[in-house]
């Protein structure tokens, strides 16, 4: 555990020093500008738009980081051979990989946490009240980011960096439109039902994590709902990380 923490700490430090968190500046700009521009609208409208914008920006920036930083998380170390002297030390490949995942997971937590604080600060500055339900949508966004990191990590180990980036992006997009897959049977009549089911299981259903509209428009999100998506994220991420660990154990580091 100590070694996993050491790798995770270094991964977080890398994110900070390589300016990954600079995306917070863009977020701050979006929040400030939207706050200034929307001041003219009615109270109910501007609060919704700010919440919508804030959550969407959080989702977008987080996904970009999870995808592109996630793909380079281990593959960059393999390409540059910076992990050779580390793996000669008493840290196992499993610990290294889990540490890298945990490090980026923590970076995203800090990122999402600061954005959430920014969103609440904007709402409070406009005297629109701090809606605690927003935290449910933020939590779901964070779970989706962890799933994305796990996918990026696995694909970067079994393919090249470029292929991993493109394929992770495709999976993220496909997962956000998973309802389309369900209807593929209608679009492609010959498509067997088992193939559709297999698609639905393999492709992460990111729609499960999209609570933005429900929260913004005041639809209730129960703790049962949150528990279900947490279990789904844990199962999916756990499976993908396990596959990544198996692939990484077999990977030759020339």
């Amino acid at each position: 555990m100590r070694r996993v923490a050491a790798v995770a700490h270094n991964t977080f430090r890398e994110s900070v020093r390589e300016r990954v968190l600079y995306n917070l500046l863009f977020f701050a700009v979006i929040m400030t500008v939207s706050g200034l521009l929307l001041g003219e609208l009615s109270i109910r409208q501007d609060a919704k738009i700010i919440k919508d914008l804030g959550l969407a920006a959080m989702d977008l920036f987080g996904t970009l980081i999870a995808l592109f930083v996630g793909v380079g998380l281990v593959s960059k170390e393999i390409e540059r051979r910076s992990l050779h002297p580390l793996l000669a030390k008493p840290v196992s490949r499993d610990e290294f990989l889990v540490g890298k995942f945990a490090g980026l997971g923590f970076t995203l937590l800090v990122n999402v946490g600061l954005m959430t604080a920014g969103l609440y600060a904007t709402l409070l500055a406009l005297r629109r009240g701090a809606d605690p339900a927003l935290l449910k949508a933020v939590f779901a966004i964070y779970l989706a980011l962890l799933v994305t990191v796990a996918l990026a990590l696995l694909l970067s180990i079994v393919t090249s960096t470029a292929v991993a980036s493109v394929s992770t992006l495709c999976l993220v997009i496909a997962g956000r439109y998973s309802d389309v897959i369900l209807n593929l049977g209608d679009v492609v009549p010959g498509m067997p039902a088992w193939a559709l089911r297999a698609f639905m299981i393999l492709i992460p259903n990111f729609r499960n994590f999209d609570l933005k509209d429900r929260v913004v428009y005041g639809d209730p999100v129960s703790f049962g709902d949150l528990g279900w998506i947490t279990a789904y994220a844990a199962a999916y991420t756990g499976t993908v990380i396990t596959l990544a660990v198996i692939a990484f154990r077999r990977r030759e580091l020339t």
Partner: protein, 324 residues
């Protein structure tokens, strides 16, 4: 799996072989290491020599578990190859090391120390000690993105020693170093030996091996072509004498004495190659012809001579370096 015994040598390699797949075609493989068998006693400085592409780095990567053998096995410090217990007592300097640009040497050494489970105080003290040892204390808090190759090499050596290893693997440790840096590394290797550590290093710079190694293995094309103590491999007897003379022209040499084998000009001086037994006669003959003997140098076989004699010219894709 080889039997593990308490009295095991530092390194016991049995029949290690490795090949790499060529391109994406299955079945086509290029052998990189063939049936390597070596024993390195504890406390020795062992040189793994060979041209680029001879299998030296492949050997180290196999021993560290970075790549996997096709066949064969090894026991490191009494533990199976790749075991965590073995890595706890190992140090490794990779060839052309790359470390994290965003870290300073002090931070990197701290990170390395954490992976060995050292306490914060021990990590701080060890980092200070090692930075001093490799001579980069003034740059201890500078991010490594500003480092030269030589400075990275020095840090690479420092991180390999964080845990006071019993066995140190150094892959081309002199690479990228200036003459002072090379001398410093030589001194560190000798210091490690004096402290009882075993050093296994790969190099294609022969004088380094000649200066430092108790034993060597010579690789070519992935196979061992010679191994053992230097005095077993090299002819340490004097092969001939080099006599530096002045006051003679090249034509004067012919008939000088039956022992003179050859000569070369060095400005107005000549270097004569003389069998040891004929030395006295040659000196007298030179003086009789108005010449003067300036120096007499006994010549022994060097590792470089050995390689040239044993292997001839480098094969395609190989490169020897006699010094650098």
């Amino acid at each position: 799996m080889l039997p593990v015994t308490e009295a095991a040598p530092a390194l016991d390699i049995r029949g290690l072989s490795k090949s790499y797949r060529i391109g994406h075609l299955r079945g086509k493989r290029r052998p990189a290491l063939r049936d390597l068998t070596l024993r390195v006693p504890r406390g020795a400085v062992f040189g793994c020599l060979g041209p680029n592409g001879s299998g030296k780095s492949t050997t180290l990567k196999l021993l560290l578990g970075l790549i996997f053998p096709d066949s064969g096995d090894a026991v490191i410090l009494g533990h199976p190859m790749g075991a965590r217990a073995a890595r706890q007592s190992l140090g490794y300097l990779p060839e052309n090391p790359y470390f994290y640009d965003y870290l300073t040497p002090r931070e990197y050494l701290d990170y390395a120390g954490r992976l060995f489970g050292l306490s914060p105080g021990a990590r701080r003290d060890r980092a200070r000690e090692l930075l001093d040892l490799v001579g980069i204390t003034p740059a201890a808090d500078v991010q490594m993105r500003r480092f030269s190759k030589g400075m990275l090499q020095r840090l690479g050596l420092a991180q390999a020693l964080v845990n006071r290893p019993e066995l140190v693997f150094l892959d081309e440790p002199m690479s990228g170093l200036d003459p002072l840096g090379r001398r410093s590394v030589r001194e560190i290797i000798l210091k490690l030996k004096a402290e009882g550590s075993t050093v296994f290093f790969s190099t294609h710079i022969l004088p380094d091996a000649e200066t430092l190694c108790d034993e060597v293995a010579v690789l070519r094309g992935g196979s061992v072509v010679a191994k053992g103590r230097l005095d077993q491999i090299l002819t340490l007897d004097v092969s001939h004498m080099e006599v530096l003379v002045s006051g003679l022209a090249p034509p004067d040499v012919s008939g000088l004495a039956p022992g003179v084998e050859t000569f070369r000009s060095m400005g107005e001086r000549l270097v004569l190659h003389v069998p040891e037994k004929q030395l006295g006669g040659v000196v007298v003959a030179v003086e009789q012809r108005g010449g003067r003997v300036l120096s007499v140098q006994p010549v022994r076989q060097s590792l470089e001579d050995f390689f040239v004699a044993e292997m001839g010219q480098p094969a395609k894709g190989e490169a020897w370096t006699a010094g650098a």
